[in-house]
Symmetry: C2
Subunit: 249 residues, 2 copies
């Protein structure tokens, strides 16, 4: 790819943004509400007591440590669907349930609740406007099937599905950002990472991508205490995707 483009590249500083790469869980979709919606009847059906919100938070808390094993090289790359399923079983044990006694088909289906999350209210309209001028794609730790099923169900107008599975590296591993730019045939500075998480943007910026912070103050529920405001000098700071489209005009 370098060979194909190098001769026409201006200096990195002069690059215009060509592609917008979106964190997905929390930035594009409201994972917590979607998981709670599916966990609540599951817990009730199997007589597991406790709040669905706590179960959702417990499932999500197991996400980073599980990916860290891949990032650290302790485990070869596995899809997020597999990690979500393993973490569900681990969580059920912590909640006093025995996963082996629950119907496997139901555990499969509940794992795919992560494929059925709803977008934030502005996401589709914002993406539609942004797509007129930029390549728009998820750069998510979600796997391709998860992101494809999510987009088809919700109507997210992606140009292509990118992310951890394409480059076989989980964010914030620098390869996740750099290899994704290379897949698109673009320099890092021609790509902008869009995320509701300061750590994702810091990792992207450290390898040369542009950055846009989107406030999602209820991603973790009404008492959210993290990522309420930008903590770095990001290129854009907005409250939703429609505002981002206006900022990038």
């Amino acid at each position: 790819m370098q060979a194909v483009r190098s001769a026409t590249h201006p200096s990195a500083a002069g690059h215009a943004v060509r592609a917008l790469l979106f964190d997905t869980f929390g930035t594009v979709v409201d994972w917590r509400a979607g998981i709670v919606r599916e966990v609540a009847p599951f817990l009730s059906r199997h007589g597991i007591s406790g709040r669905a919100e706590d179960f959702a938070d417990g499932w999500r808390e197991r996400y980073q440590p599980a990916m860290q094993r891949v990032r650290a090289g302790e485990r070869s790359f596995v899809r997020l669907d597999v990690i979500h399923r393993e973490n569900l079983e681990d969580l059920l044990v912590a909640w006093g349930a025995e996963p082996g006694e629950l119907p496997a088909g139901e555990l499969d289906d509940l794992t795919r609740a992560w494929h059925r999350l709803d977008p934030w209210p502005d996401a589709i309209e914002g993406l539609r406007r942004l797509r007129e001028r930029f390549v728009v794609a998820p750069l998510s730790n979600g796997n391709i099937a998860l992101l494809t099923n999510m987009a088809k169900r919700a109507g997210l107008p992606w140009d292509c599905i990118l992310g951890a599975e394409v480059v076989r590296a989980y964010k914030p591993d620098p390869r996740a950002y750099l290899d994704t730019a290379e897949v698109l045939g673009l320099a890092p500075s021609e790509c902008m990472m869009v995320a509701a998480h300061n750590d994702d943007l810091a990792a992207a910026a450290s390898v040369g991508l542009r950055t846009a912070f989107v406030r999602r103050p209820t991603e973790h529920g009404p008492t959210q205490a993290t990522d309420l405001e930008p903590t770095g000098a990001w290129d854009h700071v907005v409250s939703d995707f429609v505002e981002l489209a206006a900022s990038l005009r």
Copy 2:
């Protein structure tokens, strides 16, 4: 992925088709007309004599042998953009030109003519109808940037961009088909390969995918002699994508 789905899978024979996977060059887009359109002014501008059609055919003839080196393990996986650029230089030498004396930016741009191919007249409408009921994606030897740029320019409504670069194997390597089904979280028999080429369908069928043959009798120009009719017992045989949508109702 197996772990997530296995418990709910019926027997292979009972699977309904969930995803349609499309060969792209020749099946979705008219590569020859698109390449001729861009090659003609290039040859003229640089005083290279000969027919643009012959140049296009010569470029395409170098495609399979170059990929074969990857399939045979003589070379590690490289993107099709790189192969196209190498083959362009090789072809120019065969045509008596010296690639090193031509502007590198022009060779880069001509290589990206493969990103700017027009779809056959029925392709967009057919895909739009098929997308209502199936996941639709290219399963092409083209790389992700090529297929993404092509889709964006032409308006091809893919659900996601799959193909050689995602699975790092070139068709007709069986892994290209099997690993693509696995990426989608589907059994091979839940996927249907759609192609204008009998050899592509034979390879897909041999590893359990369903098949649809689409007649594209002018892919190779007005005197085309190959792939005019199906040579295998494919599940569907149609003349365009709109007919395929009707067949799959």
